[in-house]
Symmetry: C2
Subunit: 469 residues, 2 copies
């Protein structure tokens, strides 16, 4: 049975048995009428007796509803003149609409993204089940800001085994992805007196923004095909450096042995900090991955990794292995930033590692990505045989030098016209116009059987821009 | 079959079929020997031929292992003089030991903590399963920094229904708990020119630290039994205020109707922002919860909530409903802080809400906490009948005024001696000595049947400190 009143300024609809008590329904209707402006500020509301009679409710229900809305500030009791609407509704414009989703391009060579289809939903859920079932109640309390202890232990053992780090559970701190970790490390270094953190050029542009937001200057150190030019670093007077030694982003270079030695020597001599961003190290195809720098000098290196490439960036799971001198400061920084990252999914990661599922997942996806890499290499040889390609040995992207004089921007735009998204190297450089034209071509999310056609179409775009192949 | 060599300075153990290829094992052993200092810097390592023969390995395996360690910087090829250890091992002291866990007290009246035993492990896992199974692949990409859209939709509908807010999915932003949300709102307000954010006194001390870290001054506004004294706020010249209107922390007062009206009027007049920390609003026992201020003036109120009290603080799940003028700035701040919180557990929360499990969980836990509240009230009446108790209508703690002249600190310490943890009001005040002595007594995590005895023992402590009743 529905009852409606339009007496006075009220239009209320109360349904018996619709769920919720009649009083709660009445309150909701009154609030809505006030919020929507149907009941205006200062308007007198009907007496409890009149409204009860209109709606066929007991007077007690209406009295209680009015009391609730008096307590919430929607109504006010006007002395000697009944009850009035208290609320002066601010003009509320319609909320901003959600951005309409763009049509995805036919081929997207976006770097830095794994194939989202490969996320191991079933085994991850199983790990989550074991994590939830096996955890003591105390695991549901506010977490250690560094993260859940069993997860830190499992991760330290994994990194020591697979990345040749020297990690200990006490020195591991979990973050929402590696970006938060790098950002808070930078703030901590700034607090401890650092002024300059050198970065690779080209490199991750958004990391640079985060570093500068932490108050550090970011001298750019050129990268060549042997990685960071450490002799240039010497002249930068930096207190720290952010490097991608295993697979430089975006050029794909591995830091050469003599440069690794020189870099460590630089850090020891200056008592500087090396932030080692090991962003896609699990994916190396032709030989074993190069071990992490951190294993050589754990007290000078902040090791940074994440599950964004191996599992999914949506998990927002990243970690830092910090030198002894920084770990408690870093845990404090995390505590103040957000009191720690979610613990249950960390415990699930620990389970995922210890059950061997993580290794199986890496092996499986590495083999898939290797095939895509091979398909890309073959297609580039076939359709763009004259271009030099770098960084094919590892990771989820390659770096393609365009012919001298090619208009990188025009090529990116022309490809976009044909629904092919490619990424110019310019956006990764300190001065976009400073470097030779190049493309950063991610293949992680492109299925093997589509790669040849994608490259064929890209080659047509390049020919169309008179920058030939 | 194990092979060991101690030829030269090497003590290596290679086990066939122990897992991992022989080359990988050899690399690991060599790295370890160098890291541990058994192989010293500049030491000549055996020739590949000699080591292969010592270990019964093919020479190719040793050559490959040496190449790997050359690439990683552990070895260097000395011109004309064979291969040497390159690595100058920094002196690494033992890592700091984990803090040993304290013995938990017999009775812990810690406020702000739900009963961790009540975390709905089974139904949460089911929600997680539906979230993982039902999500499109794109849900595993980098998330919208505000959080997963279906979760924001479910949460907005929930808050509108239960808390009388006016939320829209577009205006909801997920954070790692409410603390991160409040911290980033403060940074944003500071960027937009705010200088002073008034806070309640007594109030959440750690929030104050976060606000000051964002560069805002924190004038303290006294709280009485009708909540924040809004007339004092008028004199504080603040650009914003952080309040707990539903259940003031820690006094337990609900903001009185005329103060709610005055607060909103203040915000409209000054174009100021009210941050409404709705930290435990779901737990109100004797009547329906007071609706959120946000529902009255969504464009002046930043509504903040979390799942820390209803589910678990380990989930680190908090949210903000932001005014239109702030939401994109807040999403940007979240993007720069950590690129967003983990999406799958947000989607699980959405599933948990939409399946009705969240309502069922709230009803179930509310009934448990109500019984604990009743047991606490009865025990206080019985064992400490002369003390005034505030805030019993809602939440997971009460506020107990101690007799004038009682030594709050001494009582807290004496209780600790008897393995009873209670919390003095001093730690929640701007000037610890400024207010009357009081205890903040959380009962969320104390089982009903233990409460009478806990209070009886607490009463003995109070009598022992001659502050008794």
């Amino acid at each position: 049975m529905n009852r409606t009143t339009s007496g006075g300024e009220l239009l209320l609809s109360i349904a018996r048995r619709r769920g919720g008590s009649l009083r709660v329904q009445l309150e909701r209707e009154l609030r809505l009428a006030i919020q929507q402006g149907r009941l205006k500020a200062n308007a007198l509301v009907p007496s409890t007796r009149a409204l009860a009679s209109d709606l066929g409710l007991s007077r007690g229900v209406v009295v209680e509803a009015y009391e609730q809305l008096l307590a919430e500030g929607y109504l006010r009791a006007a002395r000697g003149s009944g009850t009035r609407v208290a609320f002066r509704r601010a003009d509320v414009e319609p909320l901003e609409a959600s951005k309409s989703a763009e049509t995805p391009p036919k081929y997207d060579f976006r770097p830095g993204l794994p194939d989202l289809e490969l996320f191991p939903r079933r085994t991850w859920l199983m790990a989550m089940r074991r994590a939830l079932a096996g955890a003591p109640d105390s695991a549901f309390d506010y977490p250690d800001p560094r993260g859940a202890p069993p997860a830190r232990e499992a991760l330290a053992a994994y990194l020591n085994r697979v990345r040749a780090t020297r990690a200990h559970a006490d020195n591991v701190v979990f973050f929402n992805g590696s970006a938060q970790g790098i950002g808070l490390v930078c703030r901590l270094l700034r607090e401890r007196g650092a002024r300059k953190l050198a970065v690779e050029d080209p490199g991750h542009a958004d990391q640079c923004t985060d570093i500068q937001a932490a108050g550090l200057a970011t001298p750019r150190i050129p990268v060549d095909e042997r990685g960071l030019t450490v002799d240039r670093l010497e002249r930068a007077d930096a207190d720290a450096v952010l490097v991608t030694p295993a697979h430089q982003f975006p050029t794909g270079a591995a830091l050469a042995p003599e440069r690794r030695a020189a870099l460590l020597e630089w850090a020891e001599r200056r008592r500087a900090i090396i932030i080692e961003d090991d962003y896609d190290a699990e994916y190396r195809y032709d030989r074993e991955p190069v071990g992490a720098l951190q294993g050589l000098t754990p007290e000078r290196v902040v090791y940074v990794g994440s599950a964004s490439k191996t599992l999914s960036p949506a998990l927002r799971m990243g970690w830092v292995v910090a030198p002894r001198a920084l770990v408690s400061g870093l845990a404090d920084a995390k505590l103040h930033a957000d009191r720690g990252s979610p613990a249950p999914e960390q415990v699930a990661l620990g389970e995922f590692i210890e059950s061997g599922e993580f290794d199986r997942h890496i092996r499986r996806t590495r083999s898939i990505y290797r095939k895509r890499r091979d398909a890309l290499s073959a297609a580039l040889k076939k359709h763009l045989p004259r271009l030099r390609v770098h960084g094919v040995a590892a990771g989820l992207h390659v770096y393609i030098e365009l012919p001298a004089g090619a208009n990188e921007r025009a090529i990116v735009d022309a490809a976009q016209q044909r629904s092919i998204r490619v990424y110019g190297a310019a956006s990764y450089r300190a001065r976009p116009s400073a470097g030779p034209p190049a493309l950063v071509v991610g293949y992680g999310a492109l299925r093997e059987e589509r790669i040849d056609e994608a490259v064929r179409q890209l080659a047509r775009v390049l020919r169309g821009n008179r920058s030939g192949d």
